[in-house]
Each structure stands twice: as C-alpha cells, then as structure tokens.
C-alpha cells in the first residue's frame, strides 16, 4: 500500500514536471529562422506566385497589399497599388499578416502566455502609433522589412545586402543612444 501511494505520488510529480516542461518549451531562434527561411524561399514556387521575385514572406509589403486592398474596396477604385503576385487581377490579397497574428495568438493561448498588458499613457501610445507609421514608411522606401531584406539577399540582390547592413548600422546607433540614455 505504502509503495503504491509512493508510486502515485511520483506519477503526480512526473505529470507536474511534464506540464512545466511544456510550458517552458522554447524553440531556438536558429531553428525557427531556418524553418521560416526555407518556407519563405519555397512558397513562391509552390503557390505559383511569380511576379515580384523574393516575395514569399514580408511583413511590410504584405501589410501594404492588405491596406491597399481595403482602401480599394472602400473607395471602389483600383488606384491603390497591390503587388501583382499572379497574372490575373487580384481579388484577395496575400494574408501573411493575419496568419502571423493568428499563429502567435494560438501559440500564446496554448502555452498560457496570453495576457493583455495594462494601458499606457497617452503620450507613449501616441509615440508607438507614430513609430509604426515611420517604420513602415522607411520599410517601403527600402521595399523590404528586415525579413524580406534577408530574403532578397539570399536571392542575390546586392542592394538588399547594403540595406541589411544599413539596418544593422541604424540599430547599433539607436542601441548606443539608448545605452547613453539620450531621450529622443
């Protein structure tokens, strides 16, 4: 009897350990980057998106397509630019952005990390909003978010490599300013 109880206890402890292990299950960025990179590189051949090369995965450009599509629907025209991923006129834009939102939402629900943070001050909210607009416009100037810059570099675009290096320079400068705690 005592032995049985002990065994049960051990089983309970094992179960607890297992749930904790699942909760702390993290994927190495190395692996995640490799999987996303290979998927992004092979997506265009699989889904026969021919037109802009290296367009498999990009946050900024795909958000641009989504916004353009919504604006076109509202205004009833075709004046907003959508990247021609297929030969036919496009009725539905690429939905990578919504996929990312759903994926991270589901992952955070499964691993019990979903929690809504508390509201912030009006000033910092406004700052984040403006930063979003500014970052997207710089990304569209380069025609790549950091992910597509890497993708274009892998496709053999020399100018994207320069862009990627400049992203690094800008990031290091901003980190240096943060380190010296210069308020911007």
């Amino acid at each position: 009897m005592i032995r049985m109880k002990k065994m049960n206890n051990e089983k309970d402890i094992d179960k607890k350990k297992l749930t904790e292990k699942i909760k702390n299950l993290r994927i190495n960025p190395w692996v995640a980057g490799m999987v996303i990179g290979f998927l992004a590189a092979s997506l265009q051949k699989i889904a026969s998106m021919t037109k802009p090369p290296a367009y498999g995965f990009c946050v900024a450009c795909h958000v641009r397509d989504l916004t353009s599509w919504i604006s076109n629907q509202i205004s009833g025209t075709t004046s907003f630019f959508i990247a021609p991923v297929i030969e036919n006129p496009i009725y539905i834009p690429v939905l990578t952005f919504i996929g990312i939102l759903l994926g991270s939402f589901v992952a955070s629900l499964i691993f019990k990390e979903f929690r809504v943070t508390k509201g912030e001050t009006y000033f910092s909210s406004l700052k984040m909003f403006l930063l979003g607009i500014v970052v997207l416009n710089f990304a569209l100037l380069l025609s790549a978010c950091p992910i597509r810059a890497a993708l274009r570099t892998a496709h053999g675009d020399f100018i994207a490599l320069i862009g990627l290096l400049c992203i690094g320079v800008g990031a290091v400068l901003a980190a240096y300013m943060l380190e010296r705690s210069v308020e911007v």
């Binding site: 889904a47 496709h155 992203i167």
Partner: protein, 142 residues
C-alpha cells in the same frame, strides 16, 4: 479561392507560432549583439539567411544567387520607387538606416511587434495600427 491566399495564410501561421515560441527578431538580434553581447537572437538571422539561400538554390536548378547572375549587381528586385543604379542604392541606405533606428526605438522589428500583438501587448497593438495606416501616407507621397 486562389492557392496563394491559403498558402500565405498557412506560412504566416507557422511563422507566427514559431516567432512566439522563439522570440525571433532580426533587429533585436543586432541590438542584443551590441548591447549585451548575446548572439542568441542573432543566430535566427543567420539561420534564416542560410535556409533561404539553400531554398533558392534548390528551386533554381542548384544555381545560387539567381538574381545577380541574371541582372547584375546594380539592379534591385522591383518594389521600391527606384530599382536601378545610384538612386536605388541611396534609397536602400536611407530606408535601411531609418528602419533599423526606429525599429530599435520601438522595441523590435515589424515581425516581432506583430507577434507581440498576438500575445496581447497593447503598445504593440498601437504600433500595428500605425503600421496599417502607414502605407496610405507612403502612397500619398509617391
């Protein structure tokens, strides 16, 4: 329903899932490399580059860097306002520099901010709303 819509949705879902689990962030990787001398996140960028390189080489009959051999060094992949020569180079320098700088100030690259919105972060949500409105400004200028 076209196949590319479903395919991008699925790839986005996988990427979001992996991004939430690994906290993958390219700009954050460069920032961490400089600020705390940790190459943990930077490995994500290296892995991405390596896998995409291999992927493109496989799907292009084992020829690496297809674009350079086809079009030469000074032609960028279309999408930006200028795609050839010094103008394209200048755009890449300005855009890249601004992107890196402001992304670090906001706390992560666009991909990371989107993932954090999925986790329920309110300030990232505001960033993403700015993100959705941003293209209108860009199209107004050009």
């Amino acid at each position: 329903m076209e196949i590319y819509v479903v395919a991008t949705l699925i790839v986005g879902f996988i990427a979001g899932f992996l991004g939430q689990r690994s906290r993958l962030c390219f700009v954050g990787g460069i920032r961490d490399l400089y600020l705390i001398r940790s190459a943990y996140l930077f490995k994500g960028l290296l892995g991405f580059l390596a896998a995409a390189f291999v992927g493109y080489a496989i799907f292009n009959n084992n020829v690496p860097f297809p674009w350079v051999f086809e079009k030469g060094i000074l032609t960028a992949i279309p999408g930006a306002a200028f795609t050839y020569g010094i103008a394209a180079l200048l755009l890449a320098i300005i855009g890249g520099f601004g992107l890196g700088f402001f992304a670090v100030l906001s706390g992560g690259c666009p991909f990371r901010q989107t993932v954090m919105t999925g986790e329920g972060n309110r300030s990232s949500l505001l960033f993403v709303i700015g993100f959705l409105i941003g293209p209108l400004l860009y199209m107004f200028i050009f």
